[in-house]
Symmetry: C2
């Protein structure tokens, strides 16, 4: 079976385009529903949702689409707060607080963002979404067994061959190969991804060679050209986040839309300064400052405590320099349209590109 | 005309695969000749050749192939030696010298590596190679005019859209879009490439959209899958270095061959520690140490003065930890065979991949 058909069969979707889970200011239900309704697969980033909200969003999404969808969760370690670092980090950020008249956080030692747990698992087993995906780690065997037992397809992010093999060995059904170009948090869990950062074009074929499960390509996929390229590299489907950020259903501000519509290839960098984990985002004076000074930081997600006041200030004052705009290296290719129009466009572009290929061997 | 045919017509080659110029311990004439004879385009990295050697190598290459070939030159700025940095850098490296009983360099202030100049230009105008390519900069108009006047096709490396536009505006005929995955020196000249580092999959289509000249994809292209992917992204051809390093004609040591045959996706990182410019190479204890401490460094190529004793030690003692192995993120896909066999393999793989594509749109 050709790779693209494997995914269609496994996920019961018409088009092997998965809208990557993202966490924005407002719920992504309308976007995810629109993508699923258009024949792709919509996703919700559920990592920050308390259990009650998770149940509510699933219910909203079910009302908005009868089609398959994906729910994504973080598998990060519980953070260890380092009190010795606290003053160092505050000193580094204080000038940014001062300049904008912001109060420094009182206490940065705790977080509401729980890692994946049994309560969330229980809801998934009950609700049975078509697919559950994980980021930042390898799910434990009992978790996978519980999900698979009720027919849920599982996926998880790998940023290296080593991680892909670990996921397959753990029993994960689909590997999402996340290349260096990808916006948002690196899914790395076993490799020093910050140093090596393998690009999508190099990563996908190496992971395809290393595992037997279907591989979905992620990172820098902006239009039909990159979808066709992902197919050539051996991917069974694509995972696109940034491209869907400009969809009319995406709950982003007018300022975000404007920023995306003028995005360039050099906008972003990889920074731990926002959350404590490496994350590709638009460069800001704050993230550049932290990149230059390269301080030791608190664990994910404790850094949000320090960066939070800057983010809130950016939102309140419509100042892009203080917002956390997570997007990838192909944002300049974004188009503003409905999700259904984008899926249609991507599908026809891909078909056109594939039809125009050939002429590479000497016989032609 | 389809992109692949544009390059064939412009360069008079049968297969739009360009062997990237590289600088190894011994001249690359046999490899370059074999690639050109097989229908691709062989290249010599001429940056470090004195004028007499340049003339000799061209003559050797002409004797070895009647086919088109490419000569590559560096357009780096003359380095400014910073005497204040000297002690800092020596202090950082001294432990590596001490541990291996090496003498520190006496004087690190000068270099034999000249940037491109009128003497070299005069030889090119006389010898008329099919193609001349530049790295680290944008050639001046009179240089391009002189080369174009005698029918030489010119190319230069861009690592961002901005650089590609600058090259086109200067009159360069072909842009080599070098992605983050590429082994060896980043060609960046206008952008802070170290921070942004755009992956090949994201970079190529954005450059294709931005310029009218043909674009050659470079970086992480290991086999026919990535060649087909490059074609999908809109590239007119591919520029492959690492893949040719394992060819039987490549003048590398048995130890290098062994290292390449067991290369992995996480082997390399980007480091200035070898030459003073960002360069993708196998990680070594020295380059990791320099990455961690992130010192200010002397300009390219003055850093070779400091790193040179370590490199020589590595070669003399067959110790990989001290050699400078420049390769890209797809080295794990390398195959050991003759250049002609590799060109044949790449061509047939690409054709097979393209033939198997399709099945992406809902109609199938």
């Amino acid at each position: 079976m050709p790779p693209a058909d494997i995914l269609r069969t496994l996920l019961s979707i018409e088009i092997p385009i998965i809208q990557a889970p993202m966490i924005l200011q407002a719920p992504l239900v309308p976007l995810a529903a629109a993508v699923s309704n258009a024949g792709g697969m919509g996703s919700l980033g559920c990592a920050e949702m308390p259990v009650e909200e998770l149940q509510q969003r699933i219910s909203e999404l079910r009302s908005a689409t009868p089609k398959p969808f994906n729910l994504n969760f973080f598998l990060h370690q519980e953070p260890r707060y380092d009190p010795d670092l606290d003053l160092e980090i505050r000193n580094l950020i204080q000038p940014f607080y001062n300049k904008n008249g912001l109060d420094a956080p009182r206490d940065a030692s705790s977080t509401d963002l729980e890692t994946f747990n049994d309560d969330k698992l229980a809801i998934l087993v009950e609700e049975r979404p078509s697919m559950v995906s994980f980021h930042f780690g390898c799910p434990r065997r009992p978790v996978l067994d519980a999900l698979h037992a009720v027919g849920i397809v599982t996926a998880a992010t790998a940023t290296t061959v080593r991680e892909a093999i670990a996921l397959q060995e753990a029993g994960v059904m689909i590997v999402v190969a996340q290349g260096w170009e990808a916006g948002g948090h690196r899914g790395s869990f076993a490799s020093n991804f910050e140093d090596t950062g393998i690009g999508t074009l190099a990563l996908v074929p190496q992971i395809v060679d290393a595992v037997d499960v279907p591989v979905i390509a992620a990172g820098g996929i902006g239009d039909g050209r990159a979808i066709a390229a992902s197919r050539a590299l051996g991917a069974s489907g694509v995972w696109m986040g940034t491209a869907f950020l400009s969809c009319l259903e995406a709950p982003i501000t007018a300022l975000h839309r404007k920023a995306l519509s003028s995005a360039g290839d050099e906008d972003t960098h990889l920074s731990r300064a926002f959350s404590g984990r490496p994350c590709r985002a638009r460069q800001t004076p704050y993230s550049q400052h932290m990149a230059r000074t390269r301080p030791r930081l608190q664990d994910f997600p404790l850094m949000y405590n320090y960066s939070g006041p800057l983010k809130s200030f950016g939102i309140d004052t419509d100042n892009l320099d203080f917002q956390f705009l997570l997007y990838g290296q192909a944002a300049a290719l974004n188009r503003e349209m409905t999700a259904a129009q984008l899926i249609e466009k991507l599908t026809s572009e891909t078909a056109t590109v594939i039809a125009q290929m050939g002429a590479w061997d000497r016989a032609v």
